[in-house]
Amino acid sequence: MVERTPLLDALSHAILVLGVLVIAFPLYLTFVASTHTSSDIVHPPMSLWPGSHLIENYTAAWNGSGGGNGSKAPVGQMMLVSLFSALVIALGKISISLLSAFAIVYFRFPGRMFFFWAIFITLMLPVEVRIGPTYQVVADLGMLNSYAGLTVPLIASATATFLFRQFFLTVPEELVEAARIDGAGPMRFFKDVLVPLSSTSIAALFVIQFIYGWNQYLWPLLVTTSENMYPVVIGIKRMISGGDAQTEWSVVMATAILAMLPPAAVVILMQKWFVKGLVDTEK
Protein backbone atom coordinates (compact mmCIF):
# COMPACT_ATOMS: atom_id res chain seq x y z
CA MET A 1 0.00 0.00 0.00
CA VAL A 2 1.27 3.40 -0.80
CA GLU A 3 -0.24 6.16 1.25
CA ARG A 4 0.23 9.86 0.62
CA THR A 5 2.21 10.75 3.69
CA PRO A 6 5.03 8.73 5.18
CA LEU A 7 3.19 8.80 8.48
CA LEU A 8 0.09 7.13 7.06
CA ASP A 9 2.29 4.69 5.21
CA ALA A 10 4.04 3.72 8.43
CA LEU A 11 0.69 3.48 10.18
CA SER A 12 -0.75 1.12 7.55
CA HIS A 13 2.29 -1.07 7.75
CA ALA A 14 2.16 -1.04 11.54
CA ILE A 15 -1.47 -2.19 11.51
CA LEU A 16 -0.69 -4.96 9.04
CA VAL A 17 2.32 -6.13 11.01
CA LEU A 18 0.21 -6.16 14.17
CA GLY A 19 -2.41 -8.25 12.40
CA VAL A 20 0.16 -10.76 11.22
CA LEU A 21 1.60 -11.02 14.71
CA VAL A 22 -1.80 -11.61 16.27
CA ILE A 23 -2.48 -14.45 13.86
CA ALA A 24 0.98 -15.92 13.65
CA PHE A 25 1.93 -15.81 17.30
CA PRO A 26 -0.31 -18.66 18.48
CA LEU A 27 0.95 -20.79 15.60
CA TYR A 28 4.49 -20.03 16.62
CA LEU A 29 3.74 -20.94 20.19
CA THR A 30 2.22 -24.22 19.05
CA PHE A 31 5.36 -25.01 17.14
CA VAL A 32 7.54 -24.11 20.08
CA ALA A 33 5.40 -26.22 22.40
CA SER A 34 5.76 -29.15 20.06
CA THR A 35 9.50 -29.09 20.59
CA HIS A 36 9.50 -29.22 24.39
CA THR A 37 8.48 -31.95 26.79
CA SER A 38 5.03 -31.89 28.35
CA SER A 39 6.39 -30.97 31.75
CA ASP A 40 8.17 -27.96 30.23
CA ILE A 41 4.86 -26.82 28.77
CA VAL A 42 2.72 -27.09 31.85
CA HIS A 43 5.23 -25.36 34.08
CA PRO A 44 4.90 -21.66 33.34
CA PRO A 45 6.50 -19.72 31.91
CA MET A 46 7.11 -21.81 28.81
CA SER A 47 10.19 -20.76 26.92
CA LEU A 48 9.54 -18.74 23.75
CA TRP A 49 12.31 -20.47 21.89
CA PRO A 50 12.14 -23.91 20.32
CA GLY A 51 13.38 -26.73 22.48
CA SER A 52 15.30 -29.83 21.60
CA HIS A 53 12.64 -32.54 21.58
CA LEU A 54 11.32 -31.97 18.07
CA ILE A 55 12.08 -35.33 16.56
CA GLU A 56 11.04 -37.21 19.65
CA ASN A 57 7.62 -35.53 19.82
CA TYR A 58 6.83 -35.78 16.17
CA THR A 59 7.73 -39.46 15.95
CA ALA A 60 5.65 -40.13 19.05
CA ALA A 61 2.73 -38.38 17.46
CA TRP A 62 3.14 -40.07 14.10
CA ASN A 63 3.37 -43.55 15.52
CA GLY A 64 0.95 -43.08 18.36
CA SER A 65 3.41 -43.99 21.03
CA GLY A 66 3.08 -40.91 23.27
CA GLY A 67 2.32 -41.10 26.96
CA GLY A 68 -0.63 -39.59 28.78
CA ASN A 69 -4.18 -40.80 29.06
CA GLY A 70 -5.56 -39.43 25.86
CA SER A 71 -6.04 -41.28 22.62
CA LYS A 72 -2.92 -42.80 21.23
CA ALA A 73 -4.12 -43.14 17.68
CA PRO A 74 -1.22 -42.87 15.24
CA VAL A 75 -1.32 -39.52 13.57
CA GLY A 76 0.16 -40.96 10.42
CA GLN A 77 -2.91 -43.12 9.90
CA MET A 78 -5.26 -40.26 10.71
CA MET A 79 -3.55 -37.91 8.28
CA LEU A 80 -4.09 -40.48 5.58
CA VAL A 81 -7.80 -40.68 6.39
CA SER A 82 -8.06 -36.90 6.38
CA LEU A 83 -6.12 -36.63 3.14
CA PHE A 84 -8.23 -39.23 1.41
CA SER A 85 -11.55 -37.74 2.49
CA ALA A 86 -10.48 -34.17 1.74
CA LEU A 87 -9.38 -35.16 -1.77
CA VAL A 88 -12.49 -37.19 -2.47
CA ILE A 89 -14.74 -34.44 -1.16
CA ALA A 90 -12.97 -31.70 -3.10
CA LEU A 91 -12.78 -33.59 -6.39
CA GLY A 92 -16.27 -35.02 -5.97
CA LYS A 93 -17.80 -31.62 -5.29
CA ILE A 94 -16.07 -30.10 -8.28
CA SER A 95 -17.12 -32.83 -10.69
CA ILE A 96 -20.73 -32.87 -9.58
CA SER A 97 -21.07 -29.09 -9.56
CA LEU A 98 -19.47 -28.75 -12.99
CA LEU A 99 -21.96 -31.20 -14.43
CA SER A 100 -25.01 -29.73 -12.73
CA ALA A 101 -24.07 -26.17 -13.67
CA PHE A 102 -23.52 -27.39 -17.25
CA ALA A 103 -26.98 -28.95 -17.30
CA ILE A 104 -28.68 -25.89 -15.86
CA VAL A 105 -27.02 -23.41 -18.17
CA TYR A 106 -26.87 -25.23 -21.48
CA PHE A 107 -29.88 -27.47 -21.62
CA ARG A 108 -33.58 -26.90 -21.66
CA PHE A 109 -35.48 -29.75 -20.06
CA PRO A 110 -38.77 -30.12 -18.22
CA GLY A 111 -38.43 -29.21 -14.54
CA ARG A 112 -35.26 -27.23 -15.19
CA MET A 113 -36.31 -24.26 -13.07
CA PHE A 114 -37.61 -26.61 -10.39
CA PHE A 115 -34.22 -28.28 -10.02
CA PHE A 116 -32.48 -24.94 -10.05
CA TRP A 117 -34.57 -23.66 -7.16
CA ALA A 118 -34.32 -26.99 -5.33
CA ILE A 119 -30.53 -26.69 -5.36
CA PHE A 120 -30.79 -23.10 -4.27
CA ILE A 121 -33.04 -23.96 -1.34
CA THR A 122 -30.56 -26.46 0.05
CA LEU A 123 -28.33 -23.47 0.74
CA MET A 124 -30.87 -22.28 3.27
CA LEU A 125 -30.80 -25.44 5.36
CA PRO A 126 -28.19 -25.41 8.09
CA VAL A 127 -26.16 -28.57 8.63
CA GLU A 128 -27.58 -29.10 12.10
CA VAL A 129 -31.09 -29.40 10.69
CA ARG A 130 -30.26 -32.12 8.23
CA ILE A 131 -27.67 -34.04 10.19
CA GLY A 132 -30.10 -36.31 12.00
CA PRO A 133 -31.87 -37.58 8.86
CA THR A 134 -28.57 -37.86 7.00
CA TYR A 135 -27.15 -40.05 9.77
CA GLN A 136 -30.22 -42.25 9.60
CA VAL A 137 -29.86 -42.73 5.86
CA VAL A 138 -26.14 -43.44 6.06
CA ALA A 139 -26.69 -45.94 8.86
CA ASP A 140 -29.45 -47.68 6.94
CA LEU A 141 -27.22 -47.97 3.93
CA GLY A 142 -24.52 -49.56 6.05
CA MET A 143 -22.00 -46.85 5.29
CA LEU A 144 -21.09 -46.05 8.89
CA ASN A 145 -17.43 -46.01 9.79
CA SER A 146 -16.30 -46.18 6.18
CA TYR A 147 -14.71 -43.85 3.67
CA ALA A 148 -17.99 -43.78 1.75
CA GLY A 149 -19.86 -42.61 4.82
CA LEU A 150 -17.26 -39.96 5.50
CA THR A 151 -17.33 -38.45 2.04
CA VAL A 152 -20.49 -39.14 0.06
CA PRO A 153 -22.99 -37.13 2.13
CA LEU A 154 -20.71 -34.10 1.91
CA ILE A 155 -20.20 -34.10 -1.84
CA ALA A 156 -23.25 -32.25 -3.16
CA SER A 157 -22.59 -28.52 -3.17
CA ALA A 158 -24.95 -25.73 -4.06
CA THR A 159 -22.32 -23.00 -3.72
CA ALA A 160 -19.98 -24.64 -6.17
CA THR A 161 -22.86 -25.19 -8.61
CA PHE A 162 -23.70 -21.52 -8.48
CA LEU A 163 -20.13 -20.45 -8.90
CA PHE A 164 -19.83 -22.51 -12.04
CA ARG A 165 -23.22 -21.40 -13.27
CA GLN A 166 -22.20 -17.76 -13.00
CA PHE A 167 -18.97 -18.52 -14.81
CA PHE A 168 -20.67 -20.47 -17.59
CA LEU A 169 -23.05 -17.59 -18.17
CA THR A 170 -20.06 -15.43 -19.07
CA VAL A 171 -18.86 -17.80 -21.79
CA PRO A 172 -19.92 -16.18 -25.10
CA GLU A 173 -22.75 -17.86 -26.93
CA GLU A 174 -20.74 -17.85 -30.14
CA LEU A 175 -18.20 -20.25 -28.71
CA VAL A 176 -20.97 -22.80 -28.30
CA GLU A 177 -22.14 -22.15 -31.86
CA ALA A 178 -18.64 -22.44 -33.28
CA ALA A 179 -18.26 -25.75 -31.46
CA ARG A 180 -21.59 -26.92 -32.84
CA ILE A 181 -20.50 -26.11 -36.34
CA ASP A 182 -17.21 -27.90 -35.73
CA GLY A 183 -19.25 -30.96 -34.87
CA ALA A 184 -18.67 -31.06 -31.12
CA GLY A 185 -21.52 -32.63 -29.20
CA PRO A 186 -22.44 -31.35 -25.72
CA MET A 187 -20.03 -33.57 -23.77
CA ARG A 188 -17.23 -32.89 -26.23
CA PHE A 189 -17.82 -29.18 -25.82
CA PHE A 190 -17.84 -29.64 -22.07
CA LYS A 191 -14.56 -31.51 -22.04
CA ASP A 192 -12.66 -29.57 -24.71
CA VAL A 193 -13.86 -26.03 -24.16
CA LEU A 194 -15.80 -25.43 -20.96
CA VAL A 195 -13.62 -27.27 -18.46
CA PRO A 196 -10.32 -25.79 -19.69
CA LEU A 197 -11.89 -22.34 -19.58
CA SER A 198 -13.03 -22.95 -16.01
CA SER A 199 -9.59 -23.88 -14.75
CA THR A 200 -9.21 -20.83 -12.51
CA SER A 201 -12.57 -21.40 -10.87
CA ILE A 202 -11.74 -25.06 -10.45
CA ALA A 203 -8.42 -24.22 -8.81
CA ALA A 204 -10.07 -21.76 -6.44
CA LEU A 205 -12.80 -24.19 -5.53
CA PHE A 206 -10.35 -27.02 -5.04
CA VAL A 207 -8.50 -25.07 -2.39
CA ILE A 208 -11.67 -24.06 -0.58
CA GLN A 209 -13.22 -27.51 -0.68
CA PHE A 210 -10.02 -29.29 0.27
CA ILE A 211 -9.71 -27.19 3.40
CA TYR A 212 -13.41 -27.66 4.10
CA GLY A 213 -13.04 -31.41 3.76
CA TRP A 214 -9.87 -31.49 5.82
CA ASN A 215 -11.45 -29.55 8.67
CA GLN A 216 -14.63 -31.61 8.88
CA TYR A 217 -15.33 -32.35 12.57
CA LEU A 218 -19.01 -32.84 13.30
CA TRP A 219 -19.84 -35.30 10.57
CA PRO A 220 -16.82 -37.60 11.02
CA LEU A 221 -17.46 -37.52 14.76
CA LEU A 222 -20.91 -38.97 14.18
CA VAL A 223 -20.07 -41.38 11.45
CA THR A 224 -16.83 -43.01 12.61
CA THR A 225 -16.57 -45.39 15.50
CA SER A 226 -13.13 -46.95 15.25
CA GLU A 227 -9.83 -45.22 15.83
CA ASN A 228 -8.37 -46.11 12.48
CA MET A 229 -11.11 -44.12 10.68
CA TYR A 230 -10.65 -40.88 12.59
CA PRO A 231 -9.58 -37.83 10.64
CA VAL A 232 -6.75 -35.95 12.26
CA VAL A 233 -8.84 -33.04 13.61
CA ILE A 234 -10.80 -35.49 15.71
CA GLY A 235 -7.58 -37.12 16.73
CA ILE A 236 -6.33 -33.88 18.21
CA LYS A 237 -9.38 -33.48 20.38
CA ARG A 238 -9.30 -37.01 21.60
CA MET A 239 -5.71 -36.72 22.67
CA ILE A 240 -6.69 -34.13 25.21
CA SER A 241 -7.95 -36.30 28.06
CA GLY A 242 -10.35 -34.27 30.19
CA GLY A 243 -10.46 -33.99 33.91
CA ASP A 244 -7.46 -34.67 36.11
CA ALA A 245 -5.74 -37.11 33.87
CA GLN A 246 -2.46 -36.10 32.41
CA THR A 247 -2.30 -34.97 28.76
CA GLU A 248 0.77 -35.33 26.68
CA TRP A 249 0.69 -31.71 25.48
CA SER A 250 3.87 -31.86 23.51
CA VAL A 251 2.45 -34.62 21.36
CA VAL A 252 -0.84 -32.76 21.01
CA MET A 253 1.00 -29.70 19.79
CA ALA A 254 3.03 -31.76 17.37
CA THR A 255 -0.16 -33.28 16.00
CA ALA A 256 -1.69 -29.85 15.59
CA ILE A 257 1.29 -28.68 13.56
CA LEU A 258 1.20 -31.81 11.43
CA ALA A 259 -2.52 -31.30 10.84
CA MET A 260 -1.94 -27.77 9.57
CA LEU A 261 0.69 -28.68 7.02
CA PRO A 262 -1.34 -30.23 4.16
CA PRO A 263 -3.93 -27.44 3.84
CA ALA A 264 -1.14 -24.86 3.98
CA ALA A 265 0.72 -26.78 1.30
CA VAL A 266 -2.36 -26.91 -0.91
CA VAL A 267 -2.93 -23.18 -0.64
CA ILE A 268 0.69 -22.37 -1.38
CA LEU A 269 0.92 -24.75 -4.34
CA MET A 270 -2.40 -23.73 -5.89
CA GLN A 271 -1.63 -20.04 -5.55
CA LYS A 272 0.75 -20.25 -8.46
CA TRP A 273 -1.91 -21.79 -10.62
CA PHE A 274 -4.42 -19.11 -9.58
CA VAL A 275 -2.18 -16.25 -10.46
CA LYS A 276 -1.19 -17.83 -13.75
CA GLY A 277 -4.83 -18.42 -14.57
CA LEU A 278 -5.79 -14.88 -13.69
CA VAL A 279 -3.00 -13.41 -15.80
CA ASP A 280 -3.85 -15.59 -18.76
CA THR A 281 -7.59 -15.09 -18.82
CA GLU A 282 -9.01 -13.14 -21.72
CA LYS A 283 -11.54 -13.95 -24.34
Partner: protein, 340 residues
Protein backbone atom coordinates in the same frame (compact mmCIF):
# COMPACT_ATOMS: atom_id res chain seq x y z
CA UNK B 1 -19.24 -26.27 -53.57
CA UNK B 2 -22.96 -26.24 -54.00
CA UNK B 3 -25.93 -24.09 -54.78
CA UNK B 4 -28.23 -22.86 -52.03
CA UNK B 5 -31.98 -22.80 -52.37
CA UNK B 6 -34.13 -20.84 -49.93
CA UNK B 7 -37.78 -21.71 -50.38
CA UNK B 8 -40.36 -19.56 -48.68
CA UNK B 9 -38.50 -19.36 -45.37
CA UNK B 10 -40.45 -18.30 -42.32
CA UNK B 11 -39.20 -17.73 -38.79
CA UNK B 12 -41.51 -17.31 -35.86
CA UNK B 13 -40.64 -17.02 -32.19
CA UNK B 14 -43.15 -18.30 -29.70
CA UNK B 15 -46.46 -19.94 -30.49
CA UNK B 16 -50.06 -18.95 -30.65
CA UNK B 17 -51.26 -15.42 -30.36
CA UNK B 18 -48.14 -13.93 -28.86
CA UNK B 19 -45.91 -15.36 -31.57
CA UNK B 20 -43.54 -12.96 -33.25
CA UNK B 21 -42.84 -13.60 -36.92
CA UNK B 22 -39.56 -12.10 -38.01
CA UNK B 23 -38.98 -13.61 -41.46
CA UNK B 24 -41.90 -13.52 -43.85
CA UNK B 25 -41.44 -16.00 -46.65
CA UNK B 26 -38.01 -15.35 -48.14
CA UNK B 27 -37.18 -17.26 -51.32
CA UNK B 28 -33.98 -17.09 -53.32
CA UNK B 29 -31.71 -19.26 -55.44
CA UNK B 30 -27.96 -18.89 -54.99
CA UNK B 31 -25.84 -20.39 -57.73
CA UNK B 32 -22.86 -22.66 -57.13
CA UNK B 33 -19.79 -20.56 -56.35
CA UNK B 34 -21.70 -17.29 -56.09
CA UNK B 35 -20.88 -14.62 -53.49
CA UNK B 36 -24.17 -13.28 -52.20
CA UNK B 37 -24.41 -10.47 -49.69
CA UNK B 38 -27.45 -10.15 -47.44
CA UNK B 39 -27.71 -6.52 -46.45
CA UNK B 40 -30.18 -4.51 -44.44
CA UNK B 41 -30.59 -2.33 -41.37
CA UNK B 42 -30.35 -3.69 -37.82
CA UNK B 43 -33.24 -5.94 -36.94
CA UNK B 44 -34.26 -6.75 -40.51
CA UNK B 45 -33.69 -10.46 -40.01
CA UNK B 46 -30.53 -10.96 -42.03
CA UNK B 47 -28.57 -12.68 -39.25
CA UNK B 48 -31.59 -14.81 -38.43
CA UNK B 49 -31.76 -15.87 -42.07
CA UNK B 50 -28.08 -16.79 -42.08
CA UNK B 51 -28.42 -18.75 -38.89
CA UNK B 52 -31.34 -20.66 -40.32
CA UNK B 53 -29.11 -21.72 -43.20
CA UNK B 54 -26.36 -22.62 -40.71
CA UNK B 55 -28.65 -24.67 -38.52
CA UNK B 56 -28.24 -22.50 -35.44
CA UNK B 57 -31.88 -21.40 -35.60
CA UNK B 58 -34.81 -23.65 -36.20
CA UNK B 59 -36.72 -23.17 -39.42
CA UNK B 60 -40.37 -22.51 -38.65
CA UNK B 61 -41.55 -22.78 -42.24
CA UNK B 62 -40.13 -23.36 -45.69
CA UNK B 63 -37.03 -25.23 -46.78
CA UNK B 64 -33.32 -24.73 -47.15
CA UNK B 65 -31.48 -26.83 -49.68
CA UNK B 66 -27.70 -27.01 -49.91
CA UNK B 67 -26.70 -28.77 -53.08
CA UNK B 68 -29.50 -31.22 -53.59
CA UNK B 69 -30.10 -31.95 -49.93
CA UNK B 70 -32.87 -30.49 -47.84
CA UNK B 71 -31.01 -29.55 -44.68
CA UNK B 72 -33.88 -28.40 -42.44
CA UNK B 73 -33.40 -31.22 -39.96
CA UNK B 74 -29.65 -31.56 -40.13
CA UNK B 75 -27.28 -30.41 -37.37
CA UNK B 76 -24.89 -27.60 -38.33
CA UNK B 77 -21.98 -30.01 -38.48
CA UNK B 78 -23.86 -32.20 -40.95
CA UNK B 79 -24.67 -29.44 -43.39
CA UNK B 80 -21.13 -29.12 -44.73
CA UNK B 81 -20.92 -25.42 -43.96
CA UNK B 82 -18.42 -23.20 -42.20
CA UNK B 83 -19.17 -19.94 -40.42
CA UNK B 84 -17.16 -16.83 -39.64
CA UNK B 85 -18.58 -14.88 -36.69
CA UNK B 86 -18.59 -11.19 -35.94
CA UNK B 87 -16.70 -11.77 -32.69
CA UNK B 88 -14.42 -14.39 -34.22
CA UNK B 89 -15.52 -17.06 -31.69
CA UNK B 90 -12.03 -18.52 -31.35
CA UNK B 91 -11.39 -20.96 -28.51
CA UNK B 92 -9.32 -18.83 -26.15
CA UNK B 93 -7.37 -21.61 -24.50
CA UNK B 94 -6.26 -23.28 -27.74
CA UNK B 95 -3.46 -22.19 -30.03
CA UNK B 96 -4.21 -20.93 -33.52
CA UNK B 97 -3.28 -24.32 -34.94
CA UNK B 98 -5.57 -26.14 -32.52
CA UNK B 99 -8.39 -23.69 -33.24
CA UNK B 100 -8.16 -24.42 -36.92
CA UNK B 101 -7.71 -28.14 -36.41
CA UNK B 102 -10.53 -28.66 -33.90
CA UNK B 103 -13.31 -29.41 -36.37
CA UNK B 104 -11.11 -31.78 -38.33
CA UNK B 105 -10.01 -33.53 -35.15
CA UNK B 106 -13.62 -34.20 -34.27
CA UNK B 107 -14.24 -35.52 -37.77
CA UNK B 108 -11.34 -37.93 -37.18
CA UNK B 109 -9.28 -36.66 -40.08
CA UNK B 110 -5.76 -38.18 -39.91
CA UNK B 111 -3.17 -35.96 -38.22
CA UNK B 112 -0.98 -35.65 -41.30
CA UNK B 113 -3.86 -34.39 -43.39
CA UNK B 114 -4.88 -31.96 -40.67
CA UNK B 115 -1.37 -30.57 -40.63
CA UNK B 116 -1.37 -30.20 -44.39
CA UNK B 117 -4.76 -28.47 -44.58
CA UNK B 118 -4.02 -26.08 -41.74
CA UNK B 119 -0.64 -25.14 -43.20
CA UNK B 120 -2.19 -24.50 -46.59
CA UNK B 121 -4.96 -22.30 -45.22
CA UNK B 122 -2.50 -20.48 -42.98
CA UNK B 123 -0.32 -19.79 -45.99
CA UNK B 124 -3.20 -18.34 -47.99
CA UNK B 125 -4.16 -16.07 -45.09
CA UNK B 126 -0.57 -15.24 -44.17
CA UNK B 127 -0.87 -16.42 -40.58
CA UNK B 128 1.81 -19.14 -40.69
CA UNK B 129 4.00 -17.34 -38.10
CA UNK B 130 1.13 -17.34 -35.61
CA UNK B 131 0.23 -21.00 -35.54
CA UNK B 132 1.47 -21.59 -32.00
CA UNK B 133 0.10 -18.39 -30.50
CA UNK B 134 -3.06 -18.07 -28.50
CA UNK B 135 -5.87 -15.79 -29.74
CA UNK B 136 -5.27 -13.25 -26.98
CA UNK B 137 -1.80 -12.65 -28.40
CA UNK B 138 -3.19 -11.59 -31.78
CA UNK B 139 -4.67 -8.35 -33.07
CA UNK B 140 -8.29 -8.11 -34.21
CA UNK B 141 -7.45 -8.45 -37.88
CA UNK B 142 -5.24 -11.47 -37.24
CA UNK B 143 -7.96 -13.10 -35.17
CA UNK B 144 -10.43 -12.61 -37.96
CA UNK B 145 -8.03 -14.26 -40.38
CA UNK B 146 -7.69 -17.20 -38.01
CA UNK B 147 -11.48 -17.42 -37.92
CA UNK B 148 -11.50 -17.49 -41.72
CA UNK B 149 -8.72 -20.07 -41.70
CA UNK B 150 -10.83 -22.26 -39.43
CA UNK B 151 -13.61 -22.02 -41.99
CA UNK B 152 -11.35 -22.76 -44.96
CA UNK B 153 -9.78 -25.94 -43.54
CA UNK B 154 -13.21 -27.52 -43.33
CA UNK B 155 -13.39 -27.35 -47.15
CA UNK B 156 -17.14 -26.83 -46.91
CA UNK B 157 -19.72 -26.47 -49.63
CA UNK B 158 -20.83 -23.11 -48.29
CA UNK B 159 -19.19 -20.25 -46.39
CA UNK B 160 -21.37 -18.20 -44.07
CA UNK B 161 -20.13 -14.82 -42.87
CA UNK B 162 -21.99 -13.05 -40.06
CA UNK B 163 -20.88 -9.40 -40.14
CA UNK B 164 -17.21 -10.41 -39.88
CA UNK B 165 -15.86 -6.92 -40.53
CA UNK B 166 -17.98 -5.03 -38.01
CA UNK B 167 -15.46 -5.34 -35.20
CA UNK B 168 -12.53 -4.04 -37.23
CA UNK B 169 -11.43 -0.44 -37.61
CA UNK B 170 -12.05 1.30 -40.92
CA UNK B 171 -8.63 0.74 -42.44
CA UNK B 172 -8.54 -2.93 -41.46
CA UNK B 173 -12.05 -3.34 -42.76
CA UNK B 174 -11.04 -2.14 -46.21
CA UNK B 175 -7.99 -4.40 -46.17
CA UNK B 176 -9.91 -7.48 -45.04
CA UNK B 177 -12.59 -6.80 -47.63
CA UNK B 178 -9.97 -7.12 -50.34
CA UNK B 179 -8.68 -10.30 -48.77
CA UNK B 180 -12.13 -11.82 -48.76
CA UNK B 181 -12.52 -10.94 -52.41
CA UNK B 182 -9.17 -12.53 -53.17
CA UNK B 183 -10.14 -15.62 -51.23
CA UNK B 184 -13.32 -15.99 -53.16
CA UNK B 185 -11.51 -15.66 -56.47
CA UNK B 186 -9.04 -18.35 -55.40
CA UNK B 187 -11.38 -20.82 -53.74
CA UNK B 188 -14.66 -20.08 -55.49
CA UNK B 189 -16.82 -21.42 -52.64
CA UNK B 190 -20.50 -20.42 -52.50
CA UNK B 191 -20.76 -17.70 -49.85
CA UNK B 192 -23.46 -15.88 -47.94
CA UNK B 193 -22.20 -12.67 -46.36
CA UNK B 194 -24.34 -10.71 -43.93
CA UNK B 195 -23.66 -7.01 -43.32
CA UNK B 196 -25.44 -3.78 -42.50
CA UNK B 197 -22.87 -1.76 -44.42
CA UNK B 198 -23.96 -0.96 -47.95
CA UNK B 199 -20.39 -0.23 -49.06
CA UNK B 200 -19.35 -3.77 -48.13
CA UNK B 201 -22.39 -5.06 -49.93
CA UNK B 202 -21.73 -3.13 -53.12
CA UNK B 203 -18.05 -4.00 -53.27
CA UNK B 204 -18.20 -7.68 -52.35
CA UNK B 205 -21.43 -8.93 -53.83
CA UNK B 206 -21.93 -10.69 -57.10
CA UNK B 207 -25.56 -10.41 -56.19
CA UNK B 208 -27.12 -8.84 -53.13
CA UNK B 209 -30.24 -9.45 -51.12
CA UNK B 210 -31.67 -6.28 -49.60
CA UNK B 211 -33.79 -7.05 -46.56
CA UNK B 212 -36.17 -4.94 -44.54
CA UNK B 213 -38.36 -6.08 -41.66
CA UNK B 214 -38.06 -9.73 -42.53
CA UNK B 215 -38.91 -9.27 -46.17
CA UNK B 216 -36.50 -9.56 -49.08
CA UNK B 217 -37.12 -6.39 -51.04
CA UNK B 218 -34.74 -7.01 -53.91
CA UNK B 219 -32.27 -9.66 -55.01
CA UNK B 220 -29.99 -8.61 -57.82
CA UNK B 221 -26.54 -7.52 -58.88
CA UNK B 222 -25.14 -4.32 -57.38
CA UNK B 223 -25.75 -2.57 -60.70
CA UNK B 224 -29.39 -3.63 -60.75
CA UNK B 225 -29.92 -2.61 -57.15
CA UNK B 226 -28.28 0.74 -57.75
CA UNK B 227 -29.79 1.54 -61.14
CA UNK B 228 -33.19 -0.08 -60.83
CA UNK B 229 -34.15 -0.26 -57.16
CA UNK B 230 -37.33 -2.23 -56.66
CA UNK B 231 -38.73 -0.24 -53.75
CA UNK B 232 -38.27 3.07 -52.03
CA UNK B 233 -36.48 1.28 -49.20
CA UNK B 234 -33.87 -0.21 -51.52
CA UNK B 235 -33.55 3.12 -53.29
CA UNK B 236 -32.78 4.99 -50.10
CA UNK B 237 -30.67 2.26 -48.53
CA UNK B 238 -28.06 2.01 -51.27
CA UNK B 239 -26.15 5.11 -52.18
CA UNK B 240 -24.74 7.82 -50.01
CA UNK B 241 -26.25 10.35 -49.66
CA UNK B 242 -29.50 8.42 -50.19
CA UNK B 243 -31.67 8.91 -53.24
CA UNK B 244 -33.99 11.91 -53.20
CA UNK B 245 -37.57 10.64 -52.89
CA UNK B 246 -39.67 13.60 -53.90
CA UNK B 247 -43.42 14.06 -53.75
CA UNK B 248 -43.40 17.67 -54.88
CA UNK B 249 -41.20 17.51 -57.98
CA UNK B 250 -42.48 19.75 -60.78
CA UNK B 251 -43.32 17.19 -63.47
CA UNK B 252 -44.44 14.47 -61.06
CA UNK B 253 -46.67 11.62 -62.16
CA UNK B 254 -49.84 11.38 -60.09
CA UNK B 255 -49.73 8.79 -57.33
CA UNK B 256 -45.97 8.39 -57.55
CA UNK B 257 -42.88 9.49 -55.74
CA UNK B 258 -40.10 10.74 -57.97
CA UNK B 259 -36.66 9.38 -57.17
CA UNK B 260 -33.38 10.91 -58.30
CA UNK B 261 -29.94 10.24 -56.89
CA UNK B 262 -27.93 13.26 -55.72
CA UNK B 263 -25.18 12.39 -58.20
CA UNK B 264 -27.65 12.50 -61.11
CA UNK B 265 -28.73 16.11 -60.64
CA UNK B 266 -26.75 18.68 -62.62
CA UNK B 267 -26.74 22.40 -62.02
CA UNK B 268 -27.53 24.18 -65.24
CA UNK B 269 -29.36 27.06 -66.87
CA UNK B 270 -32.77 25.31 -66.83
CA UNK B 271 -34.54 22.65 -64.86
CA UNK B 272 -36.03 22.38 -61.39
CA UNK B 273 -35.73 25.59 -59.42
CA UNK B 274 -34.22 25.23 -55.96
CA UNK B 275 -33.37 27.72 -53.26
CA UNK B 276 -30.05 26.77 -51.69
CA UNK B 277 -30.28 26.13 -47.94
CA UNK B 278 -26.91 24.62 -47.09
CA UNK B 279 -23.69 23.53 -48.69
CA UNK B 280 -21.29 20.89 -47.35
CA UNK B 281 -17.77 20.82 -48.73
CA UNK B 282 -16.28 17.35 -48.78
CA UNK B 283 -13.05 18.05 -50.59
CA UNK B 284 -13.45 16.45 -53.97
CA UNK B 285 -17.17 17.14 -54.09
CA UNK B 286 -19.90 19.21 -52.51
CA UNK B 287 -23.34 18.45 -51.18
CA UNK B 288 -25.89 21.14 -51.89
CA UNK B 289 -29.18 21.14 -49.99
CA UNK B 290 -32.04 23.09 -51.44
CA UNK B 291 -35.80 23.56 -51.12
CA UNK B 292 -38.26 23.94 -53.96
CA UNK B 293 -38.59 27.50 -55.05
CA UNK B 294 -42.31 26.91 -55.61
CA UNK B 295 -42.80 26.21 -51.93
CA UNK B 296 -43.16 23.10 -49.83
CA UNK B 297 -40.72 21.79 -47.26
CA UNK B 298 -38.99 18.99 -49.15
CA UNK B 299 -35.22 19.08 -49.17
CA UNK B 300 -33.37 18.08 -52.33
CA UNK B 301 -29.75 17.00 -52.14
CA UNK B 302 -27.35 17.10 -55.02
CA UNK B 303 -23.69 16.36 -55.49
CA UNK B 304 -21.47 18.60 -57.53
CA UNK B 305 -17.77 18.51 -58.12
CA UNK B 306 -15.14 21.20 -58.23
CA UNK B 307 -15.97 22.32 -61.74
CA UNK B 308 -18.91 24.36 -60.52
CA UNK B 309 -18.60 27.39 -58.29
CA UNK B 310 -20.04 26.97 -54.85
CA UNK B 311 -23.64 28.22 -54.81
CA UNK B 312 -24.32 30.84 -52.20
CA UNK B 313 -26.87 30.36 -49.45
CA UNK B 314 -30.28 31.66 -50.42
CA UNK B 315 -29.31 31.62 -54.05
CA UNK B 316 -31.69 30.08 -56.59
CA UNK B 317 -30.24 27.41 -58.83
CA UNK B 318 -31.67 25.18 -61.52
CA UNK B 319 -30.98 21.45 -61.48
CA UNK B 320 -31.65 19.03 -64.30
CA UNK B 321 -32.02 15.31 -63.66
CA UNK B 322 -30.01 13.22 -66.10
CA UNK B 323 -32.09 11.38 -68.69
CA UNK B 324 -32.88 7.83 -67.74
CA UNK B 325 -31.89 8.41 -64.14
CA UNK B 326 -35.32 9.25 -62.82
CA UNK B 327 -37.18 6.58 -60.88
CA UNK B 328 -40.83 6.39 -59.99
CA UNK B 329 -42.29 4.58 -57.02
CA UNK B 330 -45.89 4.05 -56.06
CA UNK B 331 -46.82 6.41 -53.21
CA UNK B 332 -48.72 3.77 -51.32
CA UNK B 333 -46.80 0.54 -51.82
CA UNK B 334 -43.34 1.93 -52.48
CA UNK B 335 -42.95 -0.43 -55.42
CA UNK B 336 -41.10 0.62 -58.53
CA UNK B 337 -43.10 1.82 -61.50
CA UNK B 338 -41.68 1.79 -64.97
CA UNK B 339 -41.29 4.82 -67.19
CA UNK B 340 -44.49 5.93 -68.88
Amino acid sequence: MASISLQHLIKRYGIGKSANQVIHGVSAEVADGEFVVIVGPSGCGKSTLLRMVAGLEEITGGQVKIGNRVVNDLEPAERDIAMVFQNYALYPHMSVFENMAYGLKIAKVPAAEIRQRVDKAAAILEILPFLQRKPRELSGGQRQRVAMGRAIVRQPQVFLFDEPLSNLDAKLRAQTRLEIQKLHRELGITSLFVTHDQVEAMTLAQRMMVMNNGVMEQFGTPEEVYNRPATTFVASFIGSPPMNLLKQAPDARPGTITGVRPEHLDIGPTGWALKVEAVELLGAERLVYGRWQHGGDEVVVLRTDESHTVPGLGQTICVQPRPGKIHWFDTVSGQRKEAP
